[in-house]
Protein backbone atom coordinates (compact mmCIF):
# COMPACT_ATOMS: atom_id res chain seq x y z
CA UNK A 1 0.00 0.00 0.00
CA UNK A 2 1.64 3.22 -1.19
CA UNK A 3 1.25 6.15 1.15
CA UNK A 4 2.44 9.49 -0.18
CA UNK A 5 2.13 12.74 1.77
CA UNK A 6 3.34 16.14 0.69
CA UNK A 7 3.84 18.88 3.26
CA UNK A 8 3.74 22.26 1.56
CA UNK A 9 2.66 25.89 1.63
CA UNK A 10 0.39 27.31 -1.04
CA UNK A 11 2.37 30.41 -2.09
CA UNK A 12 5.65 28.54 -2.51
CA UNK A 13 7.13 27.72 -5.94
CA UNK A 14 9.16 24.98 -4.27
CA UNK A 15 6.01 23.20 -3.09
CA UNK A 16 4.41 23.57 -6.52
CA UNK A 17 7.34 21.95 -8.31
CA UNK A 18 6.66 18.81 -6.34
CA UNK A 19 2.87 19.02 -6.78
CA UNK A 20 3.34 19.30 -10.54
CA UNK A 21 5.74 16.34 -10.66
CA UNK A 22 3.37 14.12 -8.68
CA UNK A 23 0.37 15.23 -10.75
CA UNK A 24 2.18 14.72 -14.08
CA UNK A 25 2.99 11.18 -13.00
CA UNK A 26 -0.49 10.54 -11.67
CA UNK A 27 0.83 9.65 -8.22
CA UNK A 28 -1.87 9.73 -5.55
CA UNK A 29 -0.86 11.82 -2.58
CA UNK A 30 -2.27 13.56 0.45
CA UNK A 31 -1.45 17.26 0.60
CA UNK A 32 -0.79 18.61 4.06
CA UNK A 33 -1.00 22.40 4.33
CA UNK A 34 1.68 23.77 6.60
CA UNK A 35 1.73 27.08 8.41
CA UNK A 36 5.34 28.17 8.69
CA UNK A 37 4.50 30.59 11.50
CA UNK A 38 3.17 27.64 13.44
CA UNK A 39 5.04 24.53 12.32
CA UNK A 40 3.33 21.22 12.87
CA UNK A 41 4.85 18.37 14.86
CA UNK A 42 4.78 16.43 11.62
CA UNK A 43 7.03 18.96 9.88
CA UNK A 44 9.44 19.13 12.80
CA UNK A 45 9.62 15.34 12.85
CA UNK A 46 10.04 14.88 9.11
CA UNK A 47 12.45 17.75 8.46
CA UNK A 48 14.27 18.40 11.72
CA UNK A 49 17.35 19.81 9.98
CA UNK A 50 15.73 22.67 8.05
CA UNK A 51 12.12 22.69 9.29
CA UNK A 52 11.08 23.81 5.83
CA UNK A 53 8.72 22.72 3.11
CA UNK A 54 8.26 20.93 0.81
CA UNK A 55 8.72 17.54 2.44
CA UNK A 56 7.63 14.37 0.69
CA UNK A 57 6.81 11.43 2.92
CA UNK A 58 6.66 8.08 1.10
CA UNK A 59 5.60 5.15 3.27
CA UNK A 60 6.84 7.05 6.33
CA UNK A 61 10.21 7.86 4.69
CA UNK A 62 10.72 11.63 4.61
CA UNK A 63 12.59 13.42 1.81
CA UNK A 64 13.39 17.13 2.03
CA UNK A 65 14.79 19.73 -0.43
CA UNK A 66 12.72 20.22 -3.57
CA UNK A 67 15.40 19.20 -6.09
CA UNK A 68 16.19 16.05 -4.08
CA UNK A 69 12.45 15.28 -3.96
CA UNK A 70 12.09 15.77 -7.72
CA UNK A 71 14.89 13.28 -8.44
CA UNK A 72 13.35 10.83 -5.95
CA UNK A 73 9.95 11.07 -7.64
CA UNK A 74 11.53 10.53 -11.06
CA UNK A 75 13.39 7.43 -9.86
CA UNK A 76 10.57 5.93 -7.81
CA UNK A 77 7.80 6.45 -10.38
CA UNK A 78 9.67 6.17 -13.70
CA UNK A 79 6.56 6.21 -15.95
CA UNK A 80 5.86 9.54 -17.75
CA UNK A 81 9.55 10.39 -17.45
CA UNK A 82 10.44 13.96 -16.52
CA UNK A 83 14.13 13.65 -17.34
CA UNK A 84 15.61 12.68 -20.72
CA UNK A 85 17.23 9.24 -21.09
CA UNK A 86 20.47 10.52 -22.60
CA UNK A 87 23.01 11.27 -19.83
CA UNK A 88 24.22 14.48 -21.47
CA UNK A 89 20.68 15.81 -21.82
CA UNK A 90 20.00 14.87 -18.20
CA UNK A 91 23.11 16.78 -17.15
CA UNK A 92 21.88 19.76 -19.17
CA UNK A 93 18.51 19.70 -17.36
CA UNK A 94 20.23 19.44 -13.96
CA UNK A 95 22.60 22.29 -14.83
CA UNK A 96 19.65 24.59 -15.57
CA UNK A 97 17.74 23.51 -12.46
CA UNK A 98 20.78 24.50 -10.39
CA UNK A 99 21.14 27.71 -12.40
CA UNK A 100 17.66 28.93 -11.53
CA UNK A 101 17.95 27.98 -7.88
CA UNK A 102 21.34 29.67 -7.55
CA UNK A 103 19.96 32.81 -9.19
CA UNK A 104 16.80 33.00 -7.10
CA UNK A 105 18.23 35.80 -4.88
CA UNK A 106 18.58 37.91 -8.05
CA UNK A 107 15.00 37.19 -9.10
CA UNK A 108 13.62 37.90 -5.67
CA UNK A 109 15.92 40.93 -5.45
CA UNK A 110 13.73 43.04 -7.67
CA UNK A 111 10.87 42.45 -5.27
CA UNK A 112 12.84 43.19 -2.12
CA UNK A 113 14.32 46.50 -3.26
CA UNK A 114 13.27 50.04 -4.03
CA UNK A 115 14.60 52.98 -6.03
CA UNK A 116 18.09 52.70 -7.50
CA UNK A 117 18.68 49.25 -6.03
CA UNK A 118 15.51 48.07 -7.73
CA UNK A 119 16.59 49.53 -11.07
CA UNK A 120 19.83 47.59 -10.77
CA UNK A 121 17.94 44.43 -9.81
CA UNK A 122 15.59 44.85 -12.78
CA UNK A 123 18.55 45.07 -15.13
CA UNK A 124 20.06 41.92 -13.61
CA UNK A 125 16.81 40.00 -14.04
CA UNK A 126 16.61 41.06 -17.70
CA UNK A 127 20.14 39.75 -18.24
CA UNK A 128 19.19 36.49 -16.56
CA UNK A 129 16.12 36.05 -18.74
CA UNK A 130 18.29 36.63 -21.81
CA UNK A 131 20.73 33.89 -20.75
CA UNK A 132 17.83 31.57 -19.90
CA UNK A 133 16.20 32.12 -23.27
CA UNK A 134 19.36 31.89 -25.42
CA UNK A 135 21.39 29.26 -23.60
CA UNK A 136 18.82 27.30 -21.63
CA UNK A 137 15.78 27.15 -23.86
CA UNK A 138 17.39 27.78 -27.25
CA UNK A 139 15.26 26.42 -30.06
CA UNK A 140 13.64 23.73 -27.93
CA UNK A 141 9.97 23.56 -27.06
CA UNK A 142 10.73 22.78 -23.43
CA UNK A 143 13.90 23.08 -21.35
CA UNK A 144 14.20 19.29 -21.35
CA UNK A 145 13.46 18.87 -25.07
CA UNK A 146 10.16 17.87 -26.67
CA UNK A 147 8.29 17.13 -23.47
CA UNK A 148 7.76 18.98 -20.23
CA UNK A 149 10.28 17.93 -17.61
CA UNK A 150 11.81 18.69 -14.23
CA UNK A 151 13.69 21.73 -15.53
CA UNK A 152 10.41 23.21 -16.84
CA UNK A 153 8.78 22.66 -13.45
CA UNK A 154 11.59 24.64 -11.83
CA UNK A 155 11.40 27.39 -14.46
CA UNK A 156 7.66 27.45 -13.75
CA UNK A 157 8.68 30.21 -11.35
CA UNK A 158 8.76 32.57 -14.33
CA UNK A 159 5.19 32.17 -15.66
CA UNK A 160 3.57 31.88 -12.23
CA UNK A 161 5.56 33.97 -9.77
CA UNK A 162 7.70 36.47 -11.68
CA UNK A 163 4.70 38.45 -12.91
CA UNK A 164 3.30 38.55 -9.39
CA UNK A 165 6.62 39.79 -8.00
CA UNK A 166 6.75 42.46 -10.67
CA UNK A 167 3.25 43.66 -10.01
CA UNK A 168 3.59 43.72 -6.23
CA UNK A 169 6.91 45.56 -6.58
CA UNK A 170 5.48 48.00 -9.11
CA UNK A 171 8.07 47.17 -11.74
CA UNK A 172 7.97 45.73 -15.24
CA UNK A 173 11.00 43.75 -16.28
CA UNK A 174 10.05 42.91 -19.85
CA UNK A 175 8.29 44.64 -22.73
CA UNK A 176 5.83 42.57 -24.83
CA UNK A 177 8.28 41.71 -27.63
CA UNK A 178 11.19 40.84 -25.37
CA UNK A 179 12.24 37.21 -25.17
CA UNK A 180 9.79 35.81 -27.79
CA UNK A 181 10.91 32.20 -27.39
CA UNK A 182 10.53 32.39 -23.63
CA UNK A 183 7.04 33.83 -24.17
CA UNK A 184 6.10 30.80 -26.31
CA UNK A 185 7.47 28.49 -23.64
CA UNK A 186 5.46 30.34 -20.98
CA UNK A 187 2.27 29.85 -23.01
CA UNK A 188 3.02 26.15 -23.60
CA UNK A 189 3.74 25.71 -19.91
CA UNK A 190 0.54 27.39 -18.76
CA UNK A 191 -1.55 25.48 -21.29
CA UNK A 192 -0.33 22.08 -20.14
CA UNK A 193 -3.54 20.54 -18.69
CA UNK A 194 -1.88 19.29 -15.51
CA UNK A 195 -0.17 22.62 -14.81
CA UNK A 196 -3.34 24.53 -15.65
CA UNK A 197 -5.30 22.47 -13.15
CA UNK A 198 -2.73 23.05 -10.41
CA UNK A 199 -1.97 26.73 -10.17
CA UNK A 200 -2.21 28.99 -7.14
CA UNK A 201 -5.00 31.54 -7.34
CA UNK A 202 -3.34 34.60 -8.96
CA UNK A 203 -5.38 37.16 -6.99
CA UNK A 204 -4.56 35.53 -3.68
CA UNK A 205 -0.94 35.24 -4.71
CA UNK A 206 -0.76 38.92 -5.61
CA UNK A 207 -2.41 40.02 -2.37
CA UNK A 208 -0.08 37.78 -0.38
CA UNK A 209 2.97 39.05 -2.26
CA UNK A 210 2.08 42.70 -1.75
CA UNK A 211 1.51 42.21 1.95
CA UNK A 212 4.71 40.25 2.39
CA UNK A 213 6.71 42.93 0.56
CA UNK A 214 5.40 45.65 2.86
CA UNK A 215 6.46 43.66 5.91
CA UNK A 216 9.90 42.84 4.48
CA UNK A 217 10.64 46.42 3.41
CA UNK A 218 9.48 47.78 6.75
CA UNK A 219 11.81 45.43 8.59
CA UNK A 220 14.69 46.47 6.31
CA UNK A 221 14.23 50.15 7.08
CA UNK A 222 13.78 49.57 10.80
Amino acid sequence: MEEVKLLGVWPSPYSYRVIWALELKGVKYEYVKEDLANKSDLLLRYNPVHQKVPVLVHNEKPIAESTVILEYIEETWPHNPLLPTDPHERAFARFWIKFLDDKSPTLVGLYLTVGEEQEKATKEVRELLKIIEEQGLGEKKYFGGDKIGLADLVFGFIPVWLGVLEESAGVKVTKPDDFPRLQVWIENFRENPVIKANLPDPHQLLAHSKQKREVLLASKIA
Partner: protein, 226 residues
Amino acid sequence: MEKQNEVVLFGTWASAFCKRVELALKIKGIPYEYVEEDLTNKSESLLHYNPVHKKVPVLVHNGKPISESLVILEYIDECWNNTPKLLPEDPYQRAKVRFWVNFFDHQIMARLLPIIMTRGEEREKAIKEFNELLKVFEEGINKDFPEEFPFLEGKTLGYLDIVVGTALCNYEAFHEVVDVVFSPEKNPVIMAWVKALKNHPLMKETLPPHDKFVDKMREKYLDQYP
Protein backbone atom coordinates in the same frame (compact mmCIF):
# COMPACT_ATOMS: atom_id res chain seq x y z
CA MET B 1 39.90 7.32 -36.32
CA GLU B 2 36.69 7.79 -34.38
CA LYS B 3 37.06 9.31 -30.92
CA GLN B 4 35.80 6.69 -28.51
CA ASN B 5 35.28 8.08 -25.06
CA GLU B 6 37.47 11.13 -25.27
CA VAL B 7 37.37 12.75 -21.85
CA VAL B 8 38.88 16.16 -21.12
CA LEU B 9 38.70 17.92 -17.75
CA PHE B 10 39.26 21.66 -17.52
CA GLY B 11 40.19 22.64 -13.98
CA THR B 12 42.47 24.44 -11.58
CA TRP B 13 44.73 22.45 -9.29
CA ALA B 14 43.71 24.13 -6.02
CA SER B 15 39.96 23.94 -6.48
CA ALA B 16 38.08 21.39 -4.36
CA PHE B 17 35.28 21.42 -6.95
CA CYS B 18 37.71 20.35 -9.67
CA LYS B 19 39.26 17.73 -7.40
CA ARG B 20 35.81 16.20 -6.94
CA VAL B 21 35.66 15.44 -10.63
CA GLU B 22 39.24 14.16 -10.85
CA LEU B 23 38.63 11.83 -7.95
CA ALA B 24 35.41 10.52 -9.48
CA LEU B 25 37.20 9.79 -12.77
CA LYS B 26 39.97 7.96 -10.92
CA ILE B 27 37.52 5.93 -8.83
CA LYS B 28 35.83 4.77 -12.02
CA GLY B 29 39.13 4.15 -13.76
CA ILE B 30 38.27 6.53 -16.60
CA PRO B 31 41.27 7.78 -18.61
CA TYR B 32 41.17 11.55 -19.12
CA GLU B 33 43.18 14.49 -20.34
CA TYR B 34 43.59 17.30 -17.82
CA VAL B 35 43.81 20.92 -18.88
CA GLU B 36 44.95 23.42 -16.23
CA GLU B 37 43.14 26.73 -16.66
CA ASP B 38 44.45 30.15 -15.75
CA LEU B 39 41.34 31.90 -14.46
CA THR B 40 42.94 35.31 -14.96
CA ASN B 41 43.31 34.45 -18.64
CA LYS B 42 40.57 31.98 -19.54
CA SER B 43 41.09 29.82 -22.60
CA GLU B 44 38.85 30.02 -25.67
CA SER B 45 37.93 26.41 -24.99
CA LEU B 46 36.64 27.19 -21.50
CA LEU B 47 34.60 30.13 -22.73
CA HIS B 48 33.20 27.94 -25.50
CA TYR B 49 32.38 24.98 -23.25
CA ASN B 50 30.97 26.95 -20.32
CA PRO B 51 29.60 30.18 -21.77
CA VAL B 52 27.07 30.65 -18.96
CA HIS B 53 29.45 30.66 -15.97
CA LYS B 54 32.92 30.60 -17.55
CA LYS B 55 34.07 28.53 -14.56
CA VAL B 56 35.81 25.27 -13.82
CA PRO B 57 35.41 22.33 -13.58
CA VAL B 58 34.10 21.50 -17.04
CA LEU B 59 34.10 17.93 -18.29
CA VAL B 60 34.08 17.47 -22.06
CA HIS B 61 33.06 13.99 -23.15
CA ASN B 62 33.36 13.29 -26.87
CA GLY B 63 33.14 17.01 -27.51
CA LYS B 64 30.06 17.60 -25.33
CA PRO B 65 30.55 19.77 -22.24
CA ILE B 66 29.08 19.32 -18.77
CA SER B 67 29.49 21.98 -16.06
CA GLU B 68 28.82 22.18 -12.29
CA SER B 69 30.76 19.68 -10.19
CA LEU B 70 27.78 17.79 -8.74
CA VAL B 71 26.05 17.60 -12.12
CA ILE B 72 29.31 16.21 -13.54
CA LEU B 73 29.55 13.58 -10.78
CA GLU B 74 26.01 12.33 -11.47
CA TYR B 75 26.81 12.33 -15.19
CA ILE B 76 29.95 10.24 -14.65
CA ASP B 77 28.01 7.74 -12.54
CA GLU B 78 25.26 7.44 -15.16
CA CYS B 79 27.49 7.31 -18.21
CA TRP B 80 30.05 4.88 -16.86
CA ASN B 81 27.62 2.53 -15.31
CA ASN B 82 30.31 0.19 -14.03
CA THR B 83 31.25 -0.43 -10.44
CA PRO B 84 32.17 1.08 -8.19
CA LYS B 85 28.99 3.17 -8.22
CA LEU B 86 29.35 6.63 -6.76
CA LEU B 87 25.72 6.84 -5.63
CA PRO B 88 23.66 4.07 -4.02
CA GLU B 89 21.13 2.15 -6.14
CA ASP B 90 18.09 2.59 -3.89
CA PRO B 91 16.15 5.85 -4.57
CA TYR B 92 15.68 6.63 -0.87
CA GLN B 93 19.38 6.13 -0.11
CA ARG B 94 20.19 8.33 -3.11
CA ALA B 95 17.84 11.00 -1.77
CA LYS B 96 19.59 10.93 1.61
CA VAL B 97 23.03 11.23 0.01
CA ARG B 98 21.89 14.11 -2.21
CA PHE B 99 20.30 15.86 0.78
CA TRP B 100 23.51 15.76 2.82
CA VAL B 101 25.73 16.76 -0.08
CA ASN B 102 23.38 19.69 -0.64
CA PHE B 103 23.63 20.55 3.07
CA PHE B 104 27.41 20.31 3.02
CA ASP B 105 27.74 22.61 0.01
CA HIS B 106 25.13 25.18 0.93
CA GLN B 107 25.49 25.28 4.70
CA ILE B 108 29.00 24.15 5.63
CA MET B 109 31.16 25.22 2.67
CA ALA B 110 29.31 28.54 2.64
CA ARG B 111 30.56 29.23 6.18
CA LEU B 112 34.24 29.11 5.27
CA LEU B 113 34.42 32.49 3.57
CA PRO B 114 32.84 34.36 6.52
CA ILE B 115 35.59 32.85 8.69
CA ILE B 116 38.30 33.94 6.27
CA MET B 117 36.90 37.45 5.91
CA THR B 118 36.47 38.25 9.60
CA ARG B 119 38.67 38.85 12.60
CA GLY B 120 38.40 38.80 16.38
CA GLU B 121 34.96 38.39 17.89
CA GLU B 122 33.22 38.22 14.50
CA ARG B 123 35.49 35.38 13.46
CA GLU B 124 34.90 33.51 16.72
CA LYS B 125 31.18 33.75 16.05
CA ALA B 126 31.66 32.51 12.47
CA ILE B 127 33.74 29.54 13.65
CA LYS B 128 31.10 28.72 16.28
CA GLU B 129 28.37 28.71 13.59
CA PHE B 130 30.54 26.51 11.38
CA ASN B 131 31.00 24.05 14.21
CA GLU B 132 27.30 23.96 15.01
CA LEU B 133 26.51 23.11 11.39
CA LEU B 134 29.23 20.49 11.34
CA LYS B 135 27.56 18.92 14.39
CA VAL B 136 24.20 18.84 12.61
CA PHE B 137 25.94 17.23 9.64
CA GLU B 138 27.69 14.62 11.79
CA GLU B 139 24.50 13.69 13.63
CA GLY B 140 22.49 13.58 10.43
CA ILE B 141 24.97 11.35 8.61
CA ASN B 142 25.22 9.07 11.62
CA LYS B 143 21.44 8.74 11.76
CA ASP B 144 20.91 8.29 8.01
CA PHE B 145 23.83 5.95 7.26
CA PRO B 146 24.43 3.96 10.45
CA GLU B 147 26.19 1.09 8.67
CA GLU B 148 28.60 3.20 6.66
CA PHE B 149 29.57 5.71 9.25
CA PRO B 150 32.28 6.22 10.34
CA PHE B 151 34.14 5.62 7.10
CA LEU B 152 35.51 2.12 6.96
CA GLU B 153 39.04 1.39 5.80
CA GLY B 154 39.05 -0.33 2.44
CA LYS B 155 35.57 0.86 1.49
CA THR B 156 35.24 2.39 -1.99
CA LEU B 157 34.74 6.13 -2.07
CA GLY B 158 31.22 7.37 -2.79
CA TYR B 159 29.56 10.68 -3.62
CA LEU B 160 29.61 11.96 -0.02
CA ASP B 161 33.20 10.85 0.57
CA ILE B 162 34.27 12.68 -2.58
CA VAL B 163 32.57 15.94 -1.60
CA VAL B 164 33.63 15.90 2.06
CA GLY B 165 37.14 14.63 1.36
CA THR B 166 38.10 17.13 -1.33
CA ALA B 167 36.83 19.97 0.86
CA LEU B 168 38.13 18.95 4.28
CA CYS B 169 41.21 16.77 3.78
CA ASN B 170 43.30 19.90 3.36
CA TYR B 171 42.15 21.21 6.74
CA GLU B 172 45.72 21.49 7.99
CA ALA B 173 46.39 24.11 5.33
CA PHE B 174 43.26 26.02 6.39
CA HIS B 175 44.37 25.82 10.03
CA GLU B 176 47.81 27.09 9.14
CA VAL B 177 46.71 29.99 6.95
CA VAL B 178 43.39 31.05 8.45
CA ASP B 179 42.38 29.56 11.79
CA VAL B 180 41.74 26.28 13.57
CA VAL B 181 38.14 25.43 12.83
CA PHE B 182 37.78 21.87 13.97
CA SER B 183 39.57 19.44 16.22
CA PRO B 184 39.36 15.83 17.39
CA GLU B 185 37.82 17.10 20.64
CA LYS B 186 35.07 19.20 19.10
CA ASN B 187 34.32 17.05 16.04
CA PRO B 188 35.51 13.49 16.70
CA VAL B 189 33.38 11.85 14.06
CA ILE B 190 34.26 14.23 11.20
CA MET B 191 37.94 14.12 12.11
CA ALA B 192 37.93 10.30 12.08
CA TRP B 193 36.21 10.34 8.68
CA VAL B 194 38.60 12.92 7.25
CA LYS B 195 41.68 11.09 8.59
CA ALA B 196 40.52 7.83 7.03
CA LEU B 197 39.81 9.60 3.73
CA LYS B 198 43.28 11.18 3.75
CA ASN B 199 44.78 7.69 3.87
CA HIS B 200 42.85 6.43 0.87
CA PRO B 201 45.33 5.96 -2.00
CA LEU B 202 43.14 7.72 -4.61
CA MET B 203 42.54 10.66 -2.30
CA LYS B 204 46.28 10.93 -1.59
CA GLU B 205 46.92 10.90 -5.33
CA THR B 206 44.31 13.58 -6.04
CA LEU B 207 44.78 16.14 -3.27
CA PRO B 208 47.08 19.07 -3.99
CA PRO B 209 50.46 18.96 -2.19
CA HIS B 210 50.25 20.61 1.24
CA ASP B 211 52.98 23.27 0.96
CA LYS B 212 51.95 24.37 -2.50
CA PHE B 213 48.34 24.56 -1.31
CA VAL B 214 49.32 26.62 1.77
CA ASP B 215 51.10 29.15 -0.46
CA LYS B 216 48.10 29.33 -2.76
CA MET B 217 45.72 29.88 0.15
CA ARG B 218 47.89 32.63 1.56
CA GLU B 219 47.95 34.32 -1.82
CA LYS B 220 44.26 33.90 -2.37
CA TYR B 221 42.91 34.74 1.05
CA LEU B 222 45.39 36.71 3.08
CA ASP B 223 46.25 39.04 0.27
CA GLN B 224 42.58 39.64 -0.37
CA TYR B 225 41.57 39.93 3.27
CA PRO B 226 44.64 41.22 5.16
